[in-house]
């Protein structure tokens, strides 16, 4: 139960931050990919610059998380599917000017074409699921079981 609240809270903060920076607007993403303005690159870079050292420090110290057991990061080596998937994702991202999280915020902001983008994303994920023997595919970069162990 409490984990659901954590999910709702982190989702809301994530969506709120994306909306704050106008990342749900096609025009913002398009201007970034046209290399007209560096803001989104700087935004992503600074997010990583803040989180990477902190994650590294916590990993070194070790800790027990309240809802997900022992704190652990995951790393893997690039394989063919990473390159293939990344390449297709990039093409779709440039055309649709949005990606999974901002597409939801697009609808919150009243931009109705987001209602076209979201079913498209579901369809694309579904096509891959069908290909891979109907198994629920874990889709969150570098991760583990989505159901945290522990409480």
């Amino acid at each position: 139960m409490k984990l659901n609240l954590i999910g709702l809270l982190f989702g809301a903060l994530f969506g709120g931050l994306l909306a704050g920076a106008q990342l749900h607007e096609y025009d913002t993403i398009h201007a970034m990919l046209r290399l007209d303005e560096p803001d989104v690159f700087l935004l992503m870079g600074s997010a990583i610059a803040v989180s990477a050292p902190l994650l590294w420090l916590i990993e070194r110290r070790g800790m027990k998380t309240p809802f997900g057991g022992e704190f652990s990061l995951s790393r893997s080596m690039p394989q063919r599917h990473h390159i293939k998937g990344g390449a297709l994702f990039g093409i779709g991202w440039a055309i649709a000017g949005t990606c999974p999280a901002p597409a939801l915020v697009m609808v919150s902001s009243g931009a109705l074409l987001g209602l076209i983008a979201i079913p498209g994303i579901f369809l694309g994920l579904h096509i891959h699921e069908r290909e891979s023997q109907n198994q629920l595919h874990v889709g969150d970069g570098e991760h583990r079981n989505l159901q945290p162990t522990g409480k």
Binding site: F10, G85, E142
Partner: protein, 159 residues
């Protein structure tokens, strides 16, 4: 509603904010702040599959609610519109719908194949120093910039 937020909060506030949020979810639940997995879990729940991480569905709902809070409550409120202004300047509505749907399908499929999207690989994977995530991120940045270049040529520089 309240108009307390600027139209665009600068990157040096939102970026580090996202960074702390990423660390926060790892510290609380040992999980990445990714979005495509939330879609997978949500579609699984809608199809009544077993083994769904329900908290990811709440997280999915949360992203929408957070967007609503910022765009409609903390800002003056944004009216109902089509969105995609720059694309609509170049294309009529019909072709825009086709293009958005096709692009979204492609990015959904690509995210599933790669095992993550801009947030899962681009932010959380790189923050974990995963070589696979660096490869995915470099690849999608490259193809996205090239695709945008092609779209610009195809529209005679209008897009």
């Amino acid at each position: 509603m309240f108009d307390v937020l600027p139209d665009r909060v600068p990157w040096y506030i939102v970026g580090p904010g996202l960074g702390f949020l990423i660390v926060g979810l790892f510290v609380m639940a040992n999980q990445p702040l990714g979005a495509s997995g939330a879609y997978v879990q949500t579609s699984g729940l809608l199809r009544r599959r077993d083994g769904i991480a329900v908290w990811r569905v709440w997280y999915f709902v949360g992203m929408f609610v957070g967007g609503l809070m910022v765009t409609q409550v903390l800002r003056e409120g944004s009216e109902v519109r089509s969105g995609y202004d720059a694309l609509r300047d170049v294309l009529p509505l019909g072709p825009t719908i086709v293009l958005v749907f096709a692009g979204a399908t492609l990015l959904g499929y690509g995210a599933a194949v790669a095992g993550g999207c801009t947030s899962g690989h681009g932010l959380c994977g790189t923050a974990q120093r995963s070589p696979a995530s660096f490869a995915v991120t470099a690849t999608f940045m490259t193809t996205a910039i090239l695709t945008t270049l092609v779209l610009r040529f195809a529209t005679g520089g209008d897009l």
